[in-house]
């Protein structure tokens, strides 16, 4: 991408050189988080609580102990998947609002494979349940992809519709076929052989995190290092030119939606196989899919950006729990903080203007900035 160009433009000594532009780029999320936390603090004061207590609870909850960190990462894991999912579709010029429904399908299928099949060794059963869960999400997204590619029906409508269909369909499947006997609307627990390995003793942290990180690398590789990624980005930027290039645009739209859906399905699968171990009836949307939209956009639809944004969102979500239990702060404040961060990062133009000195100063101050930074190293 064009960032490599910037690097080439500035051959520098061994010092890590960051241009003023890039520094502003990096600073924006930091400032956004800071301002959002400030707003959160004001709200905490507004309800008559101590912001210091609130935020120390947040920090303690998110990073206070090995287990807290593990819980934070558990929160981050599905967000990485759904964030990647939405980002991937965006790269192909598609807006997958249906991550939520694909997530549900991933959950129910992973749970089903997990409990239905027994006697398989872990090395087969676990990947099988995970992959089929992902596949279910993929197929759920493939339909709107197909309708877009072949009939031109806007994917936004169909993915919205299919969220609701997934909600009721999962309920139907559960009640009609998959429910465990008893009063609780849930499937039987998945077999031990289908569960994701715990990767940090004494915590729930599971192999799904590794899978998510793998997915980040895989999506990066796929998008930027392969011919398929080239095609998908081409279709996303200019479908006419893509067709002229001999790219099968319809096919790529279906593929991109399927991969996007599979990533959301994978999110559902890891939640079942790593955390919940069974599908519990959903009484409404879980929210990972919708959060995925924010994560993708906050991460500028780049896999590594998604990773960072998911980490931020997951940390805040985890912190919200301890803020409630330790500092009695309502969970809604975290929503407000998250929204503020997204808003400020999106409206970065405003910050950019505030942070940029007047044009005449740029030249002089840039050199000064370099020296300063060089000295630090």
């Amino acid at each position: 991408m064009s960032s490599t160009g910037k690097d080439l433009e500035q051959p520098r000594s061994k010092m890590l050189y960051i241009s003023r532009e890039q520094r502003i780029e990096l600073l924006i999320p930091v400032v956004a988080v800071f301002l959002a936390l400030l707003l959160g603090a004001l709200l905490v004061i507004f309800i008559g609580q101590s912001p210091i207590k609130a935020y120390s609870a947040l920090l303690k909850g998110a990073f206070g102990s090995k287990r807290d960190i593990a819980e934070t990462l558990i929160n981050v894991t599905p967000l990485i998947f759904t964030g990647l999912s939405v980002a991937f579709s965006f790269k192909c010029g598609l807006f997958n609002i249906g991550a939520e429904g694909q997530f549900i399908m991933g959950q129910i299928v992973a749970a089903w494979i997990g409990f239905q099949i027994t006697g398989l060794p872990t090395v087969i059963h676990m990947p099988l349940a995970f992959l089929l869960g992902a596949l279910a999400g993929g197929l759920w997204a493939a339909l709107p992809g197909y309708l877009k590619a072949k009939l031109g029906v806007h994917e936004v409508i169909n993915t919205i519709m299919m969220n609701y269909i997934a909600l009721y369909f999962s309920h139907y499947l559960l009640m009609a076929a998959l429910k465990e006997p008893g009063q609780i609307p849930q499937t039987p627990a998945v077999a031990a052989t289908a569960r994701l390995w715990r990767i940090l003793p004494g915590t729930r942290l599971h192999f799904g995190l590794i899978l998510a990180l793998g997915a980040v690398c895989l999506v990066y590789y796929l998008l930027f290092k392969t011919t398929l990624g080239y095609e998908i980005r081409a279709v996303g930027l200019n479908p006419h030119a893509a067709r002229y290039s001999g790219i099968n645009v319809s096919r790529d739209i279906i593929i991109a939606m399927t991969i996007s859906g599979a990533l959301s399905g994978a999110a559902g699968a890891v939640q079942i196989l790593g955390v919940q171990f069974r599908f519990l009836d959903l009484f409404g949307f879980v929210g990972y899919g919708f959060d995925g939209i924010a994560v993708a956009l906050l991460g500028r639809n780049h896999p590594f950006g998604v990773l960072a944004a998911a980490t931020l969102f997951g940390t805040l979500a985890r912190g919200a729990v301890t803020m409630q239990s330790m500092a009695k702060i309502p969970k809604q404040i975290i929503g407000i903080i998250q929204a503020t961060i997204v808003l400020i990062v999106a409206a970065d133009e405003i910050l950019r203007r505030l942070m940029k000195p007047k044009e005449t100063e740029i030249q002089g101050s840039q050199d000064a900035g370099e020296v300063e930074l060089g000295g630090d190293r």
Partner: protein, 315 residues
């Protein structure tokens, strides 16, 4: 359980009435979407704006016991939230979907937070005064038609009238011509002296006002209280209806009515005990029907060319 009598005309009256009721918030929000997108700004924040407006409308009605004042403040708060979208996306050229998503997240947090702060109660507000139903003189006395359209919450009529006015504005006035021009080719519009930014601001704010009405229709029209997340995805459905309706007011109206009808039919089928279809499939029906209609009949819909693209003045 026996099946109801399908020859009974009251069933059809009920169906129409129920359809109109359920379509109303969708129509209002959908029209908001039409204006915004016609001017080139994607408004995915409809859901959030509705929610905040539903809350503010309830709050003012709670304090003043004047429901119409509540409606007014719902509209005002809709405009205010839309202003955030407008400033960020028109003035500062931010990504419209991102800002819209942020507003949606914010609205859930904000209303939940305020509910607890103001009423020290989670979940829902206490009941407030809602706007009284309107009875249309003469018409409500006509048999069959009267019961169908003669008496409703004012929002039903407002929604229909809003659709008619929107269509007029968009296709028969010079403002409408300019709005559509700005949404298709802002630079061309600017070269003939149309103020692209002013039009976009206007449309986004109008979109906020309409979404605000949609929110008020929920908390002050159909119900008389605010409930957390009471919009329940209606903003997204409205967005879908707008696309379904090919970005036209009447198209959107039709799509919303179709959606409301499918939902009403679903509820009626349950009530009549038509249980040969699993209930979950009945619940899915409106969504499946929408998809089928799109795939089978409507097909391709092309958004305004500049929708979603921030406009930049050259120098």
């Amino acid at each position: 359980m026996e099946t109801g009598n399908l020859a009974d005309v009251t069933i059809y009256i009920a169906l129409v009435v129920s359809t109109l009721r359920m379509a109303t918030p969708l129509i209002l929000a959908g029209l908001g979407g039409v204006f915004s997108e016609r001017s080139g700004v994607v408004n995915i924040a409809l859901e959030g704006i509705m929610l905040i407006s539903a809350f503010m409308g309830m709050l003012i009605s709670y304090y003043t016991e004047a429901p119409w004042l509540g409606v007014l403040s719902a509209v005002a708060s809709g405009v205010l939230v839309a202003l955030i979208l407008a400033v960020a996306c028109v003035r500062y050229k931010s990504n419209q979907v991102v800002v819209g998503t942020a507003i949606n997240i914010f609205s859930l947090g904000f209303t939940g937070f305020m509910l607890r702060k103001v009423f020290e109660h989670a979940g829902q507000s206490p009941p407030v005064t809602k706007v009284a139903d309107w009875t249309i003189p003469l018409i409500h006395k006509i048999p069959v038609i009267g019961p169908m359209i003669g008496k409703h919450t004012p929002f039903v009529y407002i929604a229909i009238v809003a659709a008619v006015i929107s269509n007029h504005v968009l296709f028969e006035t010079k403002l409408g011509l300019r709005i559509r021009a700005v949404g298709e080719h802002p630079k061309a519009a600017e070269t003939v002296g149309v103020d692209v930014f002013a039009i976009r601001y206007l449309c986004v704010l109008l979109s906020g006002a309409l979404a605000g009405l949609a929110g008020a229709s929920l908390s002050l029209g159909f119900l008389s209280q605010f409930r957390e997340n009471m919009t329940g995805g209606r903003g997204f459905i409205a967005l879908a209806a707008m696309i379904f309706g090919k970005w036209t007011p009447y198209g959107t109206l039709g799509a919303c009515i179709l959606f409301g009808f499918a939902d009403a039919l679903q509820i009626l089928s349950q009530t009549l005990g038509l249980t040969f279809i699993p209930r979950d499939f009945l619940l899915m029906a409106p969504y499946i029907l929408t998809m089928a209609a799109l795939a089978g009949v409507i097909g391709r819909s092309v958004p305004p060319a500049a929708s979603g693209v921030p406009y930049e003045r050259q120098k």
